[in-house]
């Protein structure tokens, strides 16, 4: 079974930007509501496969996208 992680952002604009960059890079991703146990924010975050974390970080760094943190989903 795949393990998933979510990337949390300061601004919801960054999450949309990220989803676009990951799509362009051919990395599986999905916009999902922020899990309540991670933040009480009402926006959304980007879910990725945990095995892709390093590739994702690389894409975000190259794209200049700021993110708050990456959390594993249990």
């Amino acid at each position: 079974m795949n393990a998933f992680s979510v990337i949390l952002f300061f601004s919801t604009t960054s999450s949309i930007w990220t989803a676009r960059l990951l799509k362009k890079a051919g990395i599986e991703r999905k916009m999902v509501p922020i899990p309540r146990n991670l933040s009480s924010d009402c926006g959304y975050c980007v879910r990725i496969k945990s095995e892709d974390i390093e590739r994702v970080k690389d894409v975000l760094t190259k794209g200049g996208v700021e993110f708050a943190r990456i959390e594993n989903l249990r």
């Binding site: 601004s11 604009t13 924010d41």
Partner: protein
Amino acid sequence: MTNPVESADKPIYFDNAATTFPKPREVVDAVVDYMTRVGGNPGRSGHQLSVDAGEIVFSAREAVASLFGVTNPMRVIFCSNATDALNLAIQGMLRDGGHAVTTAMEHNSTIRPLRELERRCGIEVTVVPCPGGVADPAEFERALRPDTKLAVVNHASNAFGIMQSLRELGETCRRNKVVLLADCAQTAGVIPIDMKSDPVDILAFAGHKGLYGPTGTGGLLLSERFDHGRMKPLKYGGTGSNSDSVYQPEFLPDIYESGTLNTAGLSGLCAGTNYILSLQGGVRGIQLHEKELAAYFLARAGERVRGFNSPASAALVETGVVSFNIEGKEPSDVAYHLSDPYNIMCRAGLHCAPMAHETMGTFPGGTVRFSFGVFNTKEEIDYAVSALEEISAMKETP
């Protein structure tokens, strides 16, 4: 005389400096698409229609950022028009005091907030004279002081089409460590601007003029080197982010974008921006087209219309905006006759720019203004010149 353009019932629209018309079909379709297919509130919920709305807004950010050479779409701040954007920049930078420098060609959208801050918050404002419509760079540099926080420069006049050199004035500002705010209400989408090479820190644009979006759109672009911590927000409220805090977020673009954005309008703005980018020759091509129409009109009317005069030197007109008068005629009467019976739409008076008219010697009487857009043609101008010939020959107001 009959209107040669398509049908006599179709108005000839020479008021593109107020707002461009007609809008490209793509813009209308994009607004309808948001309203009928998407409909969600961008950045506020996790459901698909909210995400789709967020995608639309982000596409608009990307389109506008790319038009002005900005790499980071987070540095596009959406406001409701250029005036709203200019108020954010001017009040956000100056409401704690300081000194500002501006030009004698400003629109009221910059000089009114500056004068209000002068009256209420004790800021000081130096207005640099613009003989013939252009600020003298040496005079501009002399006006900068150690406590100057902001220079506010009208890129091109909404009344006369005369341009200030952002490169020259911007380099002066950089040398003196002064933030430059460029009012590009009339030039965004008309004159190419690249924030990577043009030394502008904050650029204000209208979405419904040269970008062919709907009214209710506009914004600011912040250069990579500008520290937005210097510009306080004017509005505080919901941003869809940091919902657990009662304090305004400090990151871009949320710090300045409280409240639901005009998503329908931004959907149209995205389509309008992509439309002008898709035109052959891009923004440079648009400028050449509009300048050519302005020069053609000034030459034809100068030859054929009795008592025609234009206060701006034709060589200085850099956009599709021309101001003129007909000797012995009130500008408002000329505009009224153009509208009825000739069905030509234009604007007369001071164009919310009394200071620019004072500079050009046309205050308080004002001028008639024609402002051309991408859809105007020389045939329409020929028709308008013939109409002006008839109006100039009128003995009295019918």
